[in-house]
């Protein structure tokens, strides 16, 4: 129950690498959910993709140029990014990854244009607007669970989405 499937051979072992890279700091406490005693919560998808209403949520720190940037750490705030926002008006504020390509093209981490086009083509039933964006560099799992996640869920429910589609950076 809850097995992920075989690990792709080429997948980078980030936990091992960051443990070595930050060996001089206190070990980072990764969230680990025991699949046997705490299996993944499962909500079935009951429609085909062509009938699904999808909410897009990105954690890459994308926002519009008229919105406040994210704080550099543990910021649990959300930005509502209209799906039609021109690329030139998108900005990125995130400390946890190399943002240079996302700054050139936010579609690398928040695929507004892609989901718009897929909805227009009928591949996806519809995409809820606005997209929801946050900065995923939040070290407190408690704050994610108690502050951020309920806010995102509330938005997604009000958008009457059938599926929350989460895109990390």
């Amino acid at each position: 129950m809850g097995e992920p499937g075989r690990r792709p051979e080429h997948a980078v072992r980030y936990i091992d690498r960051t443990r070595e890279l930050y060996s001089r700091q206190a070990p980072y406490r990764w969230v680990v959910n025991d699949r046997r005693t705490d299996p993944p919560p499962w909500a079935p998808i009951t429609k085909p993709l062509s009938a699904l209403r999808v909410s897009l949520i990105g954690s890459g720190g994308v926002h519009r140029d008229d919105q406040d940037p994210f704080h550099f750490r543990n910021d649990t705030s959300i930005r509502e990014v209209p799906l039609e926002t021109p690329a030139a008006r998108l900005r990125v504020s995130h400390f946890g990854y190399d943002v240079r390509d996302a700054e050139r093209d936010a579609g690398c981490v928040l695929p507004l244009r892609a989901v718009r086009e897929l909805a227009r083509e009928g591949v996806v039933g519809s995409v809820a607007g606005p997209a929801l964006s946050f900065m995923g560099g939040i070290y407190s799992a408690r704050r994610v669970r108690d502050e951020l996640a309920p806010t995102l869920l509330d938005f997604v429910l009000r958008q009457k989405a059938d599926l929350a589609y989460l895109v990390p950076a």
Partner: protein
Amino acid sequence: MPTLCMTSAWDITRAVAPPRSVFVHHPLGHQTGAPGDAEGQRALVRAALEAGVAVERPGEIAPLPQRWPGDAGWEKRAYSAEHTPTGPDGKPMRG
């Protein structure tokens, strides 16, 4: 609420165990594709949604076949102690 997570960090996602995930072997910061590649981004997002909707086993991480179209050396450099410089505070520098 049904959820679908994308990931390029298979081991981290395995630890968290979300209900339904798709894995793309891309450098961090490029989950949905390369800059300026609108067609590639659309194809990747479509593949991710289609694969995600097809997941039947809770906790499954479905791998997508897409490979990073850029420099192949990224795998070796990603969070590598050997390739990451140290900043003035003694901590590894990001980026």
